[in-house]
Subunit: 448 residues, 2 copies
Amino acid sequence: MNLSSSALLTDLYQLTMLHAYFAKGMRETAVFEFFIRKLPPNRNFMMAAGLEQALDYLEGLRFGPEELEWVAQSGRFPNEFVTHLEALRFTGDVYALPEGTIFFPHEPVVRVVAPLPEAQFVESRLINLILFETLIATKAARSVLAAPGKLLVDFGLRRAHGAEAGVHAARAAYIAGYAGTATVLAGAQFGIPLFGTMAHSFVQAHDDETEAFIDFARTFPQGTVLLVDTYDTEAAVRKVAALATQFKREGIAIKGVRLDSGDLAALAQRARRILDDAGLREATIFASGNIDEYRLRDLVAASAPIDGFGVGTSLVTSSDAPFLDAVYKLQEYAGRPRRKRSSGKATWPGRKQVFRHAAEGGRFHHDVVTVESDPQTGEALLLPVMKNGRRLAAPESLETLRRRAAAQLASLPERLATLEKAAEPYRVEIAPAVYELADEVDDATSEV
Amino acid sequence: MNLSSSALLTDLYQLTMLHAYFAKGMRETAVFEFFIRKLPPNRNFMMAAGLEQALDYLEGLRFGPEELEWVAQSGRFPNEFVTHLEALRFTGDVYALPEGTIFFPHEPVVRVVAPLPEAQFVESRLINLILFETLIATKAARSVLAAPGKLLVDFGLRRAHGAEAGVHAARAAYIAGYAGTATVLAGAQFGIPLFGTMAHSFVQAHDDETEAFIDFARTFPQGTVLLVDTYDTEAAVRKVAALATQFKREGIAIKGVRLDSGDLAALAQRARRILDDAGLREATIFASGNIDEYRLRDLVAASAPIDGFGVGTSLVTSSDAPFLDAVYKLQEYAGRPRRKRSSGKATWPGRKQVFRHAAEGGRFHHDVVTVESDPQTGEALLLPVMKNGRRLAAPESLETLRRRAAAQLASLPERLATLEKAAEPYRVEIAPAVYELADEVDDATSEV
């Protein structure tokens, strides 16, 4: 069983509910919407990502022989349920915000319209996929806003929560405006540009730091970045400078140096001076080590002469907000709108659409969430992406997604393009038609 | 390419360093150690987990045709490097803390002894695997300490960071003392007990809550848990109570009810009374919804009549500490100890062992970290687990790991078995032999 694509990557209650739905013949059309209930700390907006992986999942959903065998021998379900599972495919329609779109609480990010068992069953993995990339695209967008024009690279694989998190984080960060990643598999799978130099162990394995630099440079003569903080950063930069003439003679281009510890702003100033004095004006300074959007902002404010940054842990774990209050809720079944009224967790019923209104100058002004049957002006954000279980178009290229994300970030109201919570959050209006529908539903399902 | 087992699941710099090592013929024995530099917030200890997955990775490491093809066409490396990669296997030795062992900063959790290219290459994935399960086992252990005797179940798949995180979190939590998980694939892969009931959507898809309860109970007559907070919790529990006689007549056993929102302590009190009054004394009360170890402690302190808890987001993201300052550092190469002296990131050189000393009564008293060649009293914690790239024994069963974890938690000094930082942290002594070795290394590598 391939871990990422197994149909068993779900919660047990999806199987128990499916069994009950099959037993009762409940196969009418259900409408589920994925949305977040509130913004995480420090966030003024979210950026949607992960839709492609979700559509892959829906298109490929099936119980293979090993999975059916497991269900059959689990002792929990009768044989006819296994037969139902064998036939299970996703045959529904999907509407979604295109990846890279900025969105806000209570706005549907994905709407699934399918026979109840299918729409229900896909819940766990759909949330799992979209929540994570959305979390990381949003976190990455914050670095992009904090350090405009800087080269940002995802260095997070080792601290990511497992294999898939490492690869999907690289994708989400690239969509949001990162220049690339160190994660090779993300390059191989998605064509994301790869970056990488050397670790401290490379320097330590050599008896002498200068010897390590020479070995590495000769192996990668077209452009080599040397890590200079294994022992003493300034001394190491002087060694690089001392090698400049020799390297030039050998045809070796020193692309730059990397700092990974210490007072990055001060060290970068000193390194810049040493490199410039040695005629290495083209050599860039790259920094890593506990970088997040706040440190990026401070380093930019201090005019630290750093050209690029490797961002790891904080990015791939979304360290200050490692989860999202994201849910996937039943909004309609068998043609009748539904809602949940649990304390603090009530939902808006019906199939919904988001209309975005721009201010003069093109920046987003406010959104209106309403039911699909309530026509409104503004830009409709949810688009059809899948019909009868098949994609309506080929996957968008990552370059398209990057352009969209950049345009969306450029259209954010300035007060929201900050690292702290804006005093005035973005305005999202719930249209009167939604309130009316909620009242109707409450009346219809009120206790008898 | 299978995402979880691909050799390309690594950082680009591992490949660039390997290329340089092969080019220079640097293949002598290297010793790397995995350890953490400091405890995360609120933590007094860590619990080791993830070793089995790391050993699987090491045993299975190889570049397949697709991966070699990618490297060859990447334009970054010459053909002879691809040939080297094709032959790459892990042929080294591994020493490790058995899973379930409690450990502290600066104590090696895993030591790898292998030819430099192999020992270096496995860094990224090894950290990625062990860090995450260790993080989650530790987080789970906190719930176990906070709610002794309660049934704890992992409900986190949807909020986990991807597929692997969902499955590995279930495993780590089970080792630490959880009763099971809702994640089906974790049951299928590891044999972890599965738990699951119904979602709100099941109730909502029915026109009537009572009808939903009857449908579900008839499908699972052997023991059914009914979710009672979709509309009005108390009203729903009364419906369950009203069904008691009918269910009994039909031979249906009501195993319990689940609360998922609201004031859990108060709702549980009322639900308990209603169930008891209806003769449903055996029916348990299960609670979920934003549970973490602090809420568990409060609910236990309030004597809330809740028998079990579903813990999701906080567990699988280790939400208050979603990362670990874990590293994998070169400690020796070609028979000579090595160390890094970067500001704030210096390491202790040499092959190290941890000796644990118990106080009277058997609780842990303090640990001593020393070099392997320095014999000490106390229990040596690092054990050999792999020789020449092969496991020395079959994987330990999860039951063995659970017993070890439980025994370790029971041996924690009481001041550390708390949810907040202890005023007096656990004592970890760095032995004089380690200081002496560090001085020798510093003298030998001091700048010339």
